[in-house]
Symmetry: D2
């Protein structure tokens, strides 16, 4: 996954982008970069400057001097997440900046193109050279080969040819362009920020609205699925950016997993509060929950895996009590504040010490009690297993694990960093009878007294609906129902992940 | 404040100490160090090796190679917190290691000596030279000048002469010594760890028990106030460390602020669960609370300042509901996981961006509602003021700020990093009538609809009692009642802080 | 300027390339990179791995772990020199590696293309995007668009289209290609290295033969002007690399400045010992020299500016004595060994402290004596001026500055990092009468008693001749006679320098 | 070995000291530090600030910000050389700064105390604690225990008790003290610098006069053997520093090896030009030289090992020709400019690649010729052996190795970093007949056609004489005649080296 950010007509575009990326840090911790557009008086045109590097935003932009070198009026930025060695190459750190026949271009992309292999092959045969392994590089190549003269139309041409999930921010000379695929898989929001000194307005674009909050920008609306939005000095003056629209597709396919786990709870995603959706997930989980307790005397404690499941757990407790199933919310697990990306584990290089370093248990609130542990999802299952082992040290009477989403049964080809099918816990525990592993086997593997997943219907009941849309979400990871054809991606999954 | 850790008879003493310090990171973020004792076969004696540096534990010990160079059988470690420039000198990073007539010595200290100025003067007049500005250096000087032959008795001699707060771990040749001042101001716990492979036992000593949990050590008991505990290979064999005791003092003076804010909630401090005490603080706050709401229709939301006030808020809500004052717990503020020590703020170098970077608001749960915001304490008031400004952006109907401790009116001379009296908010808002600023003025300054502090009696009702003790706690920061004479410290406060 | 290196069929290609680049460090100190070709058994094809970064070779490749990650059988490397800010972008660090229709390609280039602007424009119009500002990137673009199928022929096609100076090493899948422009401007040598353990032969290619010496490789011959040499496993087996030849040009244009200053004295350049040529320069300078000494009693001391002018000074002294003009060689200036690239100058950020930090004077050998100071060339004149000021502190009776080459009057468009015409000292001191500044004015500016440049004829008499060639050298910087048309370079000089 | 520097009454004491240490870099590459004295107006007294670290001066003081934090009016600095692991501890990096009864003290020391073990024992028994393993720490301890009140007299008291070699610079509150042992083993010079803007004078003290040149200071005189010089604001005003003198000793013992190899040729050491002495060494070597050439036809080339032997080789050639033994000076070896301290050698971690990386051969001037290779000394012999192997690659007809000093037969206990006796080549090649290895065996080991050492008499004839002194030099490393008793040092040599 990745986070993208853009700002236009600011006096401190690099600083704004830094804070934007900083608040989008959860979307990608491996690398970060900022490209700034500055008007060069001598050359009478806009020139780009950039700073990129591996690591957290605060590590890559540690020196204040970097910002002195990044003055300008507009900027875009990117947070990159990636696990495979190959992609650690600096060549792959975004935004990509380049020059082509119409001038300078820089691009930051969140998502995954599903016809990248075919397009890459086609372009390659025409003599195109690729510097990075990222599929993002395809887009500027297509734009550069368009017969259109305006960057906006070139980008339109390019985006018509790509398939898949993309939320994109582009700097093209003295313009900023933001675009989102017609399915609307990844989020992208538009905001504005008023300079307190001058009263001038800057447009901002970000993966999540939490990036607006930190710089005191205001959320205007989402970039619509299929929209290509042009922001330039004229749009700022008129307060009216221009939009083109990609040909519509049959359905929408917003990533439901953004609500389940990925987005920050204080963000608005797809026009709705993430926190509120997670509360609904908890409520619906409570409605479906039927915990068989061995010891019915002791009060049931509900413990969330912080911080992603806090709200769901709270929603669960409230609904549970409303339904006459008493349960109390407890902070039984505490997240360590000092876990950083560069953390090393001398001696015991295991996942166990990782879990122990990340979470601390509060014994008193769990000891001797039956507990419901609320988590958002299980992917590989290894962390869950270790976490349960840790919780067991507090001697709870029973552990009932509740997952606020259905079992993950399929990989994501639209940008979420899931492992291959083979590495999903559901598959590892598959058997003759149960293609995807039965829940009982998973329960046994993880080592809990009972295991409850939210049903697909419960999930769908929890997320907002969109008027006039029959189908609004992509639920492929839970259902295997892939809304966008994945012509080549399937086989690539392992190498390009 | 600082964190100390020690381990004896381990195969991986540096690794154990690393994880111990890592879990004590909240006690000091400025510098960290480890000294290891290794038996040198060629020289037929124990030699010390060390690694120290400024920064977080995970930064100072980033390279795995450091651990390869730190093999041995015992180790002590130290986390240092300090804000003033002077103390950033590497000379001040602990543990201090040195050689003296009886061999090698290394010392790690949490606390503050109150007669350090007098002792330093006396020693200096005798020709002693000091390399660091820390008062800790006094202790080995006194030990080296003792007429005793055994390090244990030399240390006893030294500690009889110092006054103030100290929890100390020492390596002296092939022995480890742990000691705590007779007032018991700072915590210090003893534990043991069984090597899963060999079944051998290692003793561990730490400021808080959370340092035991991470390395799967077991909490045995606290080092008693005034106890000097000797651990060597014989004590390991017999499972019986030897203890000396400093002359008893009239009262005990455990730092009550460790319970209020400083210690980690999952630790046991002074034999009791920090989490449980904080819950009591919340309960008692609920009993004392009488919120005058303007709009009595809307449900009251209780929001905690994460993570330190989570438990108090939970206790508050539960008790409040029990008392028939309905209120619901909400996660209205979320703590950013990526705030690191090395964070820089380009452009706006204000406390505002610091607060915005650290906390995110969840609008939905606060918007339009009257809220009670629960925080543990107010020191300077600047952060509280900015936080309230941030919370206001979520448009709560009313903000009632509840503090789970009384107003801080006096500086700490026993190790807590409070500012000078002048910088405390209570003093800044003093006037003719109210020496310590009246609550109304503070409320106004911070900008909330109402402000409620827990009463001193409420605080004392929340903390555990100790049999046979008339007075168990130091409450000086709230009451001005200093249990240990502060002969020189008062005037020093500003420079040595 | 830059240094290039390549090795094929070695067991330690990255290490060989490291040492090669290390000995070519004088050709470029700003950045360094290595691309390694490794056969991947699983994928049954050669894959590339790379490491690049800003700084000296020893800085970029500081960690031994880097080499562990760079195993393979072939490698190419590049040292980059550049002074302008723009080019410090990491995008510009070579070798460039990329994928295109025929697989993987990596390229390292020394030189400068003179029709890059036109080609770039043409390519851009065809939809090509450029990631770096370097002209090198044009070559793989042309190759990728060639209709040929074999990389060798694609490269041939590409190089037919470019004009200018280029010495190039390329990795193309499992082949290495080395090429030199038809004018032969920049040097490029072929060597071989026998593995002492296995007896197997590796081919090596380098800008200068000093890169062979350090890894105990043997110099075979130069890559001929216009030659495109293919090295693959078959050529290693047969000990016979295959060559194609670019269409011949009317004349050759070896850079005479490589002999004057740039190349290392222990290298063979254009088949001849650099040291020997420099000695000739000194000899011819002695023949032309007619120093008017004020004090004819005292012995004349000849002092060289170390280390580049040492040999010329030695040749000068010997010839001078032979001609009956007695003079003695003295080490009057010593070069500081610890001057590094990262050197900072607190306080006085001037060129003066730079010169004082780089050179030390030995007073005794100059005091009271008339001296001839031998230097290789004067570019801007600022360093020379400061150096003379420094030498004056030793109180020589007279300073006669002898330059072992003619005045530099024109910028280089073929890769040498000269400043623009305006910044050359000859131009700065121009007047109505003397377009290029007269020698008298330069003498006065620099502050010496007399100033003598070697004549153009003296220069040409000093360098080796090549059979059958009427014109063998480019002397443009001294004569303004540019052998290769500079269609666009002139105007670009300032921005792309 | 080490370099020391001090400056008093400068506006840029840290910058001056930086450049001073930079020019003394050859005296110690392992660590560097600066302590600055600044008058604190608020506290009405001088306070010290420091910056120290491992590495070259330019590495330790890389950031300009360091200098911003080091403002003041006086400073001392230290370069440390050390090879053993133990001494890499940061605790050992000088200057040491500390507080004691009379205020603040900082000390930088070049040399080695020979009664440190006894003094340390005595102090330790009195209860003194030591933080570093360096013998330097003894001096402030002795000073702090003196009954005198003035730092100058305390230092006098302390230095009366220590034996061995010491050249010391001290900051004591608002005074600077420079001292040299009565034997005068290590050099120490006094200079002055006039501020060009204000005309104010600053005193400077340095191990070698080259440190004066770089900051344009003027050499006044040497600190005399046994002198303790006090510089304060009064001495600056009067231009008259005050001196005390330690009790005189029977003889002087200036380190003759400073002239042979250690000091920089452009320095004045012991009042005389190092360059001139080295020239004398070459001359006397020529007088003693009787090369038996196989091929008497070919001209004899004299090649020096740069840069330390350049002058000796020049002196040799001149004298040789004068004596009718024709020989020509040649630059046959070139020193690589980019060899840095942090250089790593991937793959072949041998001394061979170290030598190959440091020196390049110029084939043409040696090929087929008989050569005399002039080097200053042979210690372990391993580098010499590898160097000869390298020179052989140029195919000289014969190699006659001339060493401009006698064989090193004994370790140094006064500060030179020689290995233990066992590791000296002379000892490794000892046999029954020749206790110190005969020259023939050494010749064979190193692999040259002949080997000639300068005689002891030749050495003594080359160095300056001092009026009224019967014995002026320490020649212990060549003669075993140790001028200062070495009560404990001998046995310590191996561990403390």
């Amino acid at each position: 996954m990745c986070g993208v950010f853009g700002v236009f007509n600011s006096k401190t575009p690099a600083e704004d982008t830094f804070y934007g990326l900083y608040s989008l840090q959860h979307r990608g911790q491996e690398a970060a970069g900022i490209v700034v557009a500055e008007y060069n008086k001598a050359k009478k045109k806009t020139l780009f400057k950039q700073h990129k590097g591996p690591g957290l935003v605060s590590e890559v932009f540690r020196d204040e001097q970097i910002f002195e070198n990044l003055s300008g009026y507009a900027a875009i930025g990117h947070n990159r997440y990636s696990t495979t060695g190959a992609s650690k190459s600096n060549n792959n750190i975004q935004p990509f900046s380049l020059t082509y026949r119409s001038g300078s271009l820089a691009i930051a992309h969140n998502g995954n193109l599903t016809n990248s292999r075919a397009l890459r092959k086609e372009l390659t045969e025409q003599g195109v050279i690729f510097q990075a392994s990222s599929d993002t590089e395809i887009i500027p190549h297509l734009a550069a080969r368009s017969k259109e003269k305006e960057p906006l139309h070139q980008i339109y041409d390019a985006l018509r040819q790509v398939e898949g999930a993309f939320s994109i921010v582009i700097l093209a000379n003295n313009q900023m362009i933001a675009a989102r695929d017609p399915y609307g898989v990844r989020p992208l929001a538009l905001g504005k920020k008023i300079d307190p000194a001058t009263g001038e307005m800057a447009y901002v674009v970000a993966s999540e609205t939490c990036a607006f909050d930190i710089i005191k920008a205001e959320y205007i609306r989402d970039i619509a699925p299929g929209e290509i939005l042009l922001i330039d000095h004229l749009s700022v003056e008129n307060e009216k950016p221009v939009s083109l629209y990609l040909p519509p597709v049959e359905r929408k396919a917003r990533c439901i997993f953004e609500y389940v786990y990925f987005a920050r709870p204080d963000s608005f995603i797809f026009r709705n509060s993430v926190d509120k959706v997670r509360r609904n997930l908890g409520k619906n989980l409570a409605r479906e929950s039927t915990v068989e307790r061995k010891d019915k005397e002791k009060e049931l404690a509900v413990v969330s895996v912080p911080d992603s499941s806090n709200t769901a757990a709270l929603g669960f407790v409230r609904e549970s009590n409303k339904l006459g199933k008493p349960a109390r919310f407890e902070h039984g697990l505490i997240r360590n504040h000092y876990v950083g990306r560069t953390f090393i584990q001398p001696g015991i290089q295991s996942r166990e010490i990782k879990v122990r370093s990340k979470y601390n248990i509060v014994r008193g609130v769990m000891q001797g009690r039956p507990i419901i542990l609320v988590d958002d999802s299980i992917v590989r299952g290894t962390t869950a297993k270790m976490l349960i082992k840790l919780v067991r040290e507090a001697n709870p009477a029973e552990i009932h694990l509740h997952i606020s989403s259905p079992p993950i049964t399929n990989p994501c080809f639209y940008g979420m960093d899931f492992p291959t099918k083979r590495q999903l816990l559901t598959h590892m525990l598959a058997d003759a009878e149960h293609e995807l592993g039965n829940v009982e086997k998973i329960r046994e593997y993880i080592g809990v007294d009972s295991l409850k997943y939210l049903s697909m219907q419960g999930l769908l009941n929890s997320v907002p609906t969109f008027e006039g849309e029959e189908c609004s979400y992509c639920t492929a990871c839970f259902s295997g129902d892939y809304p966008i054809p994945i012509t080549d991606a399937t086989t690539d999954k392992e190498e390009n992940d």
